[in-house]
Each structure stands twice: as structure tokens, then as C-alpha cells.
Symmetry: D2
Subunit: 202 residues, 4 copies
């Protein structure tokens, strides 16, 4: 019986909560404002990401559709050709994900706008993006911070708190949901409007 | 320019962090222990969920695969027939999602085990599940709690903080990632092992 | 070396060609005309199917999008709520696929139109459909026809030529592509128009 | 009422049948034999393709799973890292699809085997493939053949019979199903075995 590990699960969740909260503090007002502007000015919004970042991208696209915006997921069946005036929102923790970077370059060459959600502004995608939301995940960094200390303590020396980018993905998802809430405020879209667009035949 | 909304985005993220933290506190040790046991004893693990809960389910299945466990997503191309000894993990905030409930009933009739991640234990799926992880999302509830007060303040009276289940999905994702970390501890699976299984041709 | 089986592969392909051709002969003009009318009159077109039939449905939705029509795949990320005036195209060889039948019933209750591509008109879905395209796959039937004879000869007695509905799916795909070509004729949509809508960032 | 177009639908289907049949004739025995050998010798089989070719790839992977083989779709949730001894089957009509070509190059660099289903052997992917199945779609070619004549007649001068690769995709699907049938013969896998692996909770 693994009941003894239940405490670890709770600690891990609280650590994630702390990380989300400190990420919120690190966001720049200008960056967030620009990000919202890009979305509101877009004719159509295309989202993409690889692996779990791709799932976060889809969760965001679904909400944009609920808001009545024209959103598409790159790679899904009925996603049409991108055109000038369309905006792509790419999720890439490293800002270097090869397949995503190439798609971003293509999108830019078509005349599309590019927003990046990442933890590395100075990266292949970051350098060509029109707008970058930096989610400070501290990935691949060893810092002498109290939070990091707890992490090491919790996991022993050698194991990682959040393997392979979990912090980035979760924080990116919370950030995206907060953006959606702000757009609801701005556009005065109410929850009952969203329910009307919510899939009724899934 | 929507810079003035940047503060809202930060507040929303912090509120989500608070919710995750209080959900961690509300978890029962027995429930979490059982959940981990079910996963470790499963021959194969099938995950499913509708809409955004389905995306959280996929994010979990991806991590289980990284851990070297046999995981499948219901509805994807190469998901084989379920058999006795297999376990299904269903994500449903309400515990009533029709399509998911029917799949759960089918899984039980085949002889599979059923784990549910939900905010409603007393629900159609909850009643037939072998193990229920209750994520207290307080959805559809109006409570006179300080956290709720902040929510109402932030959004005015009439708009919802987290439309259509966002709290459940995010908390379920953080819970699932914490479960993965605990399984890594238990099985002594290290991050380098995970990297070896991480998709290299995406 | 399995070179000796190459002949079997060729024979199998030719047999499929024969089946497609005889299916074409068996189509009723009224049925096909109605099917095209339903599509042209639809405000938005939703497609769905389970398993391989679902893949055929997606292939059809992709082409409809190329034609400039508003198509969606049930279950994909950005598929919005269905409304009156929308039409669903369901693919089900048996006409009885449980999950698909329930979605069709939901669609009808919303006020949507229902088109079915099937090999069994007298079936759960067939009975509620507004329009049925019958693809004669002869599935589950043993007939004393020359085509069937070749099949049995080719596979010995005990093995099936086209396991688990392959004939239905392929014929349904060829039928759907032929419908697309006809719609192109009717709407005078030219190939260059299609190329303009073809995904350019996949 | 578009009943008058019903005849066009039938003609189009018959023309597709003719194309499948002539493709079957053009297959080389060595090529088909090698293709089957590659699949039977593979430790695990990964499939991929872009757009509608990707749907054909998925239809093939589903059947391989039914046969009891270890198949995965590149890009789906639980697809693990590729290793030496694994084989990739790529579908690309042109043999040049950028994203697919890059994945193929990665697969080769990992030590994987590469099979290509294409209509252009002399292409970026074709040149690095271990085995190429050439599906003669005559795409982008104008030939003075009787079949082509019928095509032009049917569509008037300016419109294309099968826009954007339809012939390739359908023929590739029929070819793949024929390969599956042959593998069933070779491995003596019977239809009842397949049914046992067929998704029972979709």
C-alpha cells in the first residue's frame, strides 16, 4: 500500500502552486498586454505545440472557440491555409523545438503574426516572434533558492521534481486560462455565451 | 492597448495557485495511496476524458509511457481491446459525462478496473469506480469563503472566474503530474530513463 | 523472402477495384442526388465515424474544407456546438455503432439534419437519417456470386478477404471523393481554389 | 435537385476502380515482397504521413495492431522513442513532403529502417528509403492515355479529376489493406484473432 506516498503528492502539488504564483509575479505588464492585443486583433488564431505543450495549445484553442473567436489547431483535420492577418500562438518551453520552429518560420513568411509562450525569450522562435510571453520555469537551471531547496529535499539528490518540462506546461496552461478570463472581461462575454458554443455532441 | 488587464491575468493565476494548494490539502491519504496502487498493479492503463479533460488524460498517458508503463488513450489509432487486468483512468469533473460514463460501464463489464478523477464522488461514474480521486473544485457552488469573495470581486457579480470547468482540469493535471512524480520515487525511475522514452521523431 | 505473396497483393487490389465498381452500379440516382443536396444546403457540415470509418470521415471533412465549406470533425478540438441548420454526415458500416448512433440521436434532437453512409439502411441510425447512402459491401453475407467465389478461392476457406469492414471503409472513401468531385463541378470550384485553402503549415 | 450529378459520381468511382486495378498491375513483385519482409522483421512499426496521407497511415497502423504487431502513429500521445530495429512506414505521394522528409531523416539517423509508399521513387525520401512501394498515380503528368482521355472528357478541360492527390491516397489505402491481407495469410492470423484485438471501448 502506497499510502505513505500521499504526502509527497500533496507536497508536489503545493510546490507547483508556489511556482505558478511566482511565475505570475514575474510576468511583465507590457508583455501580457501585447499578448491580449495580438489575440484581439487577429483575424484567425492558429495554435500549436509539440508533445504536452501541444495539449496545452489545444486546451487554449478550445476556449478561444468558446469565446466565439476563430481558432484552429495546426495539424487537425479541417485547419485551413494560413493567411496574412492570421496569428499563430506557439507553445515551446525551450523556444527551440525543431518542428515548431520551422512551422513558425513558415507562418512568418506567409505574413502571419507570431506569439510565443516559452521560458526562453532568447531562442530560435523567440527571435522571430512578434510577441513573447515568458513563463519563468527555471528549467535546466540550478539555483540556490529556497524553493529549489525544498525540491531537492523532497526528491533526494538525483531525481527531478518535474521531469521533462512539466512546470512549463502547467504554468503555460494556467497563464492561457487567465488570458481567456481577461478576454472575457474585455469582450463582456459571459459564461452563458460560452455554454452555447460548447460541444454538445461529444 | 490592454496593458491594464495584465494585473487581472496575474491575479487569476494566483487564485488558481491558491485553489491547487487547497485541493492538495483536501486530498485523503487513503484515496491517493489506492490510486497509486491501482496504477502500479495494472497490466495496462487506459485513459480517457471528454473535451479539455481528455487533454489532461492524454498528458497523463504520455507521462506513464515515459515511465515505461503500458498506457493507451481511448479513441486513438492503435489502442487495443481492453482485457481483464487492465485499468481505466477516467477524467470527469461532474462524474456524469455521458459518453465517458458509458465507456466506463463497458470497461467494468469487460472486467477492467476503474479509477475516476472527479469533483463529484457521488455520481454515475463515481458509484461504479474502484477508486476515486476527489479534486475539490467547488464547481457550481456558491460559498461564503474568502477565496470565493476574491473571485466575485475580481469578476464583478455576474461573470465566472473559471468558466466551464477550468479549475477541475488544471487541478486534475497538477494532481496527475504529482502522481507521476510519486511513481518515479517508488519505482526509482530517473529522469534520464524518461528521456530515453521521450518521442524523438515528433 | 515473401516475393511469392506479391501476386496475392495484386489480386486483392483488383478484387477491391471490382467491388468499388459494382458498388458504383448499385447506387441509386435519387439517393446520390439527395446526398449532394443535403451537403449544399447545410449551414455547417459535421462528420463522424468510429475507428477506420472515422478516418474516412476526416478525409471527407478535409476535402469539404478545401472546397470552402464549413466542415467540422466531431471530437476534434475546435468543433463548436451544433445548431439547427447544421448537417451531420455519419459513417457506420453496420448503422448500429453505439457511440455514433447516440451522437446521431443527439444531433437530431438539436434540430440537425442527418446523412448516413452505411451498408445497412435498415439500422438504428438508418431509421432516423434524413438521407442514406447505401454502400453495398455485402458484409456478413455469404453469396454464391462469382466475385465471392474468387474471394474464397484466394483466401482458402476459412480466412476473410477483407477483415472487419475494410470493403465498407474503402468504398465509402471512394464514394465520398466522388461526391467532392461532383460538388466541384456544381460549384465550379477549381483545383487552384482548393490549393489556396490547403494546409500550408503542416 | 442534383440527381443529374449522380451519374458523375458513379463514373468517378469506376474511374478510381480502373486506376486501382492498373496500379496493381504496375507493382513489382520484388518491391512488394521486400515491403512485406520489412514489416515482418520489424521490432516495432511506426507510421506517418501528412494530411490525408496521414489518415491512410493511421488506417494501416490500426490494422497492424489488430494483427498483433506493435504499431505506433508518429505524433499520437503514447508513441515512444524510436530505436534501432524499429521500422517507419512513411506515406508521401510526392516523396518530398517537408515535415515527413525530416522525420524520415531523423528515423534513419537513429538506426531505424525506412519504408516509403509514394508515387515518386526518385525523391528526397525515396533516396534514403530502404524499401519503396511505388504507387503509380501519374500525378502531375499529362499523358495521352485512354484513361486520361476519359478524365479530361468527364471534367471538361480545366478541372481536375482527383484534386490534390486523391488518387494516391486511395490507391495507397487499397495497397496497404492488401498487404495486411497477405500478412494474415503468412502469419495464419484469422479474423477471429483480429476481433479479439479490435477496440471494444470506442
Amino acid at each position: 500500500m502506497n499510502e505513505c506516498y500521499a504526502g509527497n503528492v500533496q507536497d508536489m502539488m503545493k510546490l507547483m502552486a508556489t511556482t505558478i504564483s511566482s511565475t505570475a509575479d514575474s510576468l511583465s505588464n507590457e508583455g501580457v498586454g501585447e499578448f491580449i492585443d495580438e489575440l484581439l486583433n487577429a483575424k484567425r488564431i492558429y495554435v500549436m505545440g509539440a508533445g504536452r505543450s501541444g495539449l496545452v495549445a489545444k486546451a487554449f484553442a478550445m476556449r478561444l472557440m468558446h469565446l466565439g473567436m476563430h481558432s484552429y489547431v495546426v495539424g487537425e483535420t479541417i485547419t485551413p491555409a494560413m493567411k496574412e492577418g492570421d496569428t499563430i500562438v506557439a507553445y515551446s518551453g525551450s523556444g527551440e523545438t525543431k518542428s515548431i520552429a520551422e512551422l513558425c518560420e513558415t507562418a512568418k513568411s506567409i505574413g502571419g503574426r507570431l506569439c510565443l509562450v516559452t521560458s526562453k525569450k532568447d531562442s530560435r522562435i523567440g527571435r522571430i516572434a512578434d510577441c513573447v510571453a515568458v513563463i519563468e520555469s527555471h528549467r535546466d537551471e540550478v539555483k540556490d533558492e529556497s524553493a529549489e531547496y525544498e525540491v531537492r529535499q523532497m526528491r533526494g539528490e538525483h531525481r527531478s521534481f518535474a521531469p521533462l518540462g512539466t512546470i512549463f506546461e502547467t504554468t503555460a496552461m494556467v497563464f492561457s486560462d487567465a488570458i481567456v478570463s481577461s478576454i472575457m472581461e474585455i469582450t463582456q462575454c459571459e459564461e452563458k455565451d460560452l455554454k452555447g458554443r460548447h460541444a454538445n455532441i461529444e
